[in-house]
Amino acid sequence: MKVTVKLFASLRKNRFAVDDFDYQEGATVGHILASLNIPEGEAAIIFINGRHAEADSLLKEGDLLAIFPPVGGG
């Protein structure tokens, strides 16, 4: 299934801003983070099609997955 992944802020470094990937049916957010070498702690906010998602959320064909790192400085 095709999933569009959009990375934000410093997650783009040595990766990409937005790209399409083929994943197996039943892939979760956690699987995709692992395939992109993004440690769980570096993915603070996750949205699927604009809705708040978690590591065990399932993806389906055509989904847009957006991943933000934690930003905490002042």
Binding site: F8, A9, S10, R12, A17, E40, G41, A43, A44, I45, I46, F47, G50, H52, E54, A55, A66, F68, P69, P70, V71, G72, G73, G74
Partner: protein
């Protein structure tokens, strides 16, 4: 009070009261600067310092801001710019909270830090700065770390709280105290070329949603540091949110977060 009002009314020029007249009234009537400021605004006149606010903010709105209380939690990068802008826009009461003193590595972005105040408490320097700019502002400096234990006492009479902290766990504590005290919180944070702003009203738990997957103390700023212009942009957006909440004007980021990527010039809004 009638006499003061008559005197002020007689000295107004095009609806404006000059700083020299305001200072004269303070001395002549033995009043505080804030008391004279309030008397001017109640007459639907404007202290001349706010002349350039006039086309965007009415006298009544300027009076609302004067009667508002804002707490700035953290007086570092974000806090410095937030305090400066709140002071200049005419917020009447500003509580500033920070346990730290200025250090050399603050000079790249913290507005109030300079060579001759390194080692001095940030809240004391901020209080001096406020007095230098706008004597109508009442300042409450708190040289202490904000915690769940002392937080309620610090913010219970506050109208809006500004998050200018540099620690994720402390932010979550602040958000919880704001929820318990029924006070809106404007969140801002920065790291490298990136920053974010969000507005949380009581019961919305927005900060919990922003950070719920993260258990560490720091975010990307740990590796990327903080840049002056990113801090200034995020701080200014926080002040804009605060002013809109206080005036009940415009559309805020309530229940949303705006993520700024200044490296790629991308602004992304997400809703929780």
């Amino acid at each position: 009070m009638e006499m003061i009002q008559e005197c002020l009314g007689a000295r107004a020029e095009n609806g404006l009261i000059s700083l020299s007249t305001q200072t004269w009234a303070v001395q002549h009537f033995g009043l505080t600067f804030p008391a004279v400021e309030e008397a001017i605004l109640e007459l639907n006149l404007l202290p001349a310092r706010y002349q350039r606010n006039q086309r965007s903010l009415s006298c009544r709105q300027q009076l609302s801001l004067f009667r508002s209380k804002v707490a700035v939690i953290g007086c570092g990068g974000l806090g410095g710019y937030i305090i400066e802008e709140l002071t200049r826009i005419g917020i009447g009461h500003i509580t500033v909270v920070d346990p730290d003193t200025f250090e050399e590595h603050n000079l790249n972005r913290q507005l109030f830090s300079k060579l001759d105040n390194l080692g001095q408490p940030k809240v004391a320097v901020a209080a001096d700065r406020i007095k230098e700019i706008n004597p109508a502002v009442t300042i409450v400096p708190v040289q202490d770390a904000f915690t769940a234990a002392n937080g309620r006492e610090i913010i219970e009479k506050i109208d809006v709280v500004a998050d200018a902290l540099d620690s994720i766990p402390l932010r979550l504590e602040l958000a919880e105290v704001c929820e318990k005290c029924n006070i809106p919180l404007v969140h801002g944070s920065v790291g490298g070329w990136y920053g974010q702003v969000a507005t949380q009203f009581p019961g919305e738990g927005t900060l919990q949603k922003i950070y719920f997957r993260y258990s560490g103390e720091r975010g990307v700023e740990k590796d990327l540091g903080n840049l002056s212009f990113v801090v200034a942009v995020i701080a200014s957006m926080e002040v804009s949110e605060i002013v809109k909440i206080l005036l009940g004007e415009g559309s805020t980021l309530r229940g949303k977060m705006l993520a700024l990527n200044l490296l790629d010039t991308e602004f992304t809004e997400v809703a929780f």
